[in-house]
Amino acid sequence: MTTHTAHRSTSFPHRHLLGIEGLQPPEILHLLDLADEAVEVSRQVEKQKAVLRGRTQINLFFEASTRTQASFEIAGKRLGADVMNMSVATSSVKKGETLIDTAATLHAMRPDLLVVRHQSAGAVQLLARKVGCSVVNAGDGQHEHPTQALLDALTIRRHKGDIGGLTVAICGDIRHSRVARSNIILLNALGARVRVVAPSTLLPSGIHNMGVEVFTDMRKGLEGCDIVMMLRLQRERMSGAFVPSVREYFKYHGLDKEKLSFAKPDALVMHPGPMNRGVEIAAEVADGPQSLIKEQVEMGVAIRMAVLEALATHLPTK
């Protein structure tokens, strides 16, 4: 067990997971390997490991999230950690405390792992500099969402074997999506061909230099794709600010059977959730045979177990 752990510590040399940017391909693959093992653990009747026994994990969510928070909570508990959830609704942040003061307070409670989601880009990195424990970015503004990109990669790899050489189309609100940014970096690192498909108003500036092919016509963008990743469109962006209406968005950028038929016949459909059926994806596709959406949720727990386990190797043992 000790030698095993020592081997892994060289495979994942980082104390925090703040983003996909900066990770080397072998480090990413190492996390995916760990996650494959975690899937096995999670599918057993006895789902618990002792890697984090006696450790304290705090899930600090400044932005509401049911799914990601639950996923991290389950992951921590399956590894034996004591998990505590702090969400903004019940915290002193609402009373005007600054992020740094919150960090100092939490630091004094001596947690070992801090999982943080924040609405502002860069906030998690700032917090990581102010606390002594390992920090996992569970999404910071429109910047990164590394565990989402990792779980997407895990899901793809388990179905397609290898990510290198696949053509992946990321479709929808690229402009406001941290999922898109993390996935573009990760998929490129593992040798996939990445496309983005969106109306021009939902493409960020500089997109042509981000290592992707850009499409505004969804049928052309999906042609020959192995993976179609849909992104959620926020309600406030559907009624005239970025796109004129739900019906127009669905007609030109909603994934239905007809548009999906332009991708390869064995193309797989993914969505980070929560979905808007009838906005970015038709129910027939979301719940259809090519959909991996439910499986992504399972892989989410596994990848978070892998990440927590990898970071645990850096925790002080005395």
């Binding site: 109306p199 005239g240 970025f242 004129p244 019906r247 127009e248």
Partner: protein
């Protein structure tokens, strides 16, 4: 009258087609609503069997006019103008295609309403009608309308009519989004705050008349903003109506920079000036306002040098309910469908603009910008034609105006150059002798 299937030969004509640069004595041969042959050699084979011959007596045969600025009262103000009455006025003025403005009641901002206009036009109008749809929902300038669905329904372009989109972020996003559908954005540039409550051109005339003025800056600052946003977004833009030389210069710079930009002007701003307002004549109240004679001359130059691409009538029927008021309280707008060509001929007769240039601005230029087949005499194009006598004088008499409204700024004036016959898809829809 020629039946639709009978071939028609227009003989003894001076055939002019700005799209081909053609100006020669000859004929035009029409069959099944399409142009078959044009020019000196058109009749070499002899007329086809059963062809109806029409001797033009040396008059000009040119493509029918495409009017990019037609406001109709239908739906919502049918007492002022219907698609039917507007189309009758259009045919008499040589306009074979009307591009309608979306500022009706209800505002044309839904695909079902585009469909309504097209259906009503098919059943009641005698000339072609292509609607423009609203650029923003309810023309409020806040939320973009469904450009994709509206275009599929048949909208040829998108405009906020005379209401500017003041919010630069909204306008930039619309230009960006429109690019995905290759949609043309037609915008009336205007700084609403600077224009304030002005009702005529700002300056000495306005001051003597005691009327609030609209400075030129209210237009060209907005045009300059628009040019910057087009550069930023790479959108496809048409300045609906420019009225001052500074705007023309901004357009010219943008064109030199390779931006996808064109500019339009109304026939009024090319042929009238603020002095025509005289003693508070409300038929001369328009937006943007008529400018000075110096401005007008500069705009004529901008047309001649190609900076301005398109002339429209800016046809806007208003009745006594909206015009018989003190100047400041009356509505903007003037009729134009029946007088656009006759008034435009003033610029030709004065030697300021070649006839070919004038016709291009009313035919192939708007056709090219809107992606229409019409507006040219090429083989296979729809036989939308006018026969007109460039010298024939006529007086604009109120009683003979075909529009339901009578607010012409050329009332009782003599125009030189008159349409004799108008054909749409090979059918004679207007004949002066009839």
């Amino acid at each position: 009258m020629a039946e639709k299937n009978n071939p028609l030969v227009l003989t003894n004509a001076r055939v002019i087609d700005p799209a081909l640069g053609l100006d020669e004595a000859g004929s035009v041969l029409v069959q099944d609503g399409k142009i078959v042959a044009v020019g000196a050699a058109a009749n070499n084979q002899g007329a086809p069997e059963g062809a109806v011959k029409m001797d033009c007596g040396g008059a000009i045969v040119a493509p029918g006019l495409i009017d990019m600025g037609v406001t109709v009262g239908e739906p919502g103000a049918e007492h002022r103008e219907t698609l039917e009455s507007a189309s009758q006025a259009a045919a008499a003025g040589g306009v074979t295609t009307m591009i309608t403005s979306p500022d009706c009641d209800p505002i044309i901002d839904d695909p079902a309403l585009v469909d309504f206009i097209l259906r009503r036009a098919r059943h009641t109008a005698i000339v072609n009608v292509h609607p423009m749809a609203a650029l923003t929902k309810a023309l409020e300038g806040r939320e973009m309308s469904e450009l994709g669905l509206l275009k599929e329904a048949g909208a040829v372009a998108f405009t906020n009519a005379t209401i500017p989109v003041s919010n630069s972020q909204v306008f930039a996003r619309i230009l960006t989004y429109a690019r995905d559908f290759d949609a043309l954005v037609v915008h009336q540039a205007k700084d609403k705050d600077l224009a304030g409550s002005g009702v005529m051109n700002s300056g000495l005339r306005a001051t003597w008349l005691g009327l609030g003025g609209v400075p030129r800056e209210a237009e060209f600052i907005a045009i300059e903003r628009d040019m910057r946003l087009v550069a930023m977004t790479k959108g496809k833009y048409h300045a609906r109506l420019i009225s001052c030389p500074q705007s023309a210069r901004a357009i010219q710079i943008a064109k030199n920079d390779g931006l996808n930009v064109t500019a339009g002007i109304s026939i009024n701003h090319l042929t009238l000036n603020e002095n025509d307002i005289a003693n508070y004549r409300t038929f001369h109240k328009m937006s943007p306002p008529l400018r000075t004679e110096d401005d007008r001359l500069e705009m004529v130059k901008a047309l001649a040098d190609g900076t301005i691409d398109i002339i429209m009538s800016d046809h806007n029927p208003q009745d006594v309910e909206t015009k018989r008021h003190p100047f400041a309280e009356s509505e903007d707008g003037a009729l134009g469908l029946e007088t656009m060509l006759g008034a435009g001929m003033r610029l030709v007769h004065s030697g300021d603009v070649p006839l070919m240039k004038l016709l291009a601005a009313m035919t192939c230029n708007p056709a090219d910008r809107l992606g229409l087949e019409a507006g040219r005499l090429s083989k296979g194009a729809p036989a939308d034609l006018i026969v007109f006598d460039p010298e024939r004088p006529w007086i604009v008499e109120k009683e003979k105006i075909r529009s339901r409204s009578k607010n012409t700024p050329f009332e009782d004036e003599t125009l030189q150059g008159r349409v004799l016959t108008t054909l749409v898809a090979g059918r004679i829809l207007y004949n002066i002798a009839a």
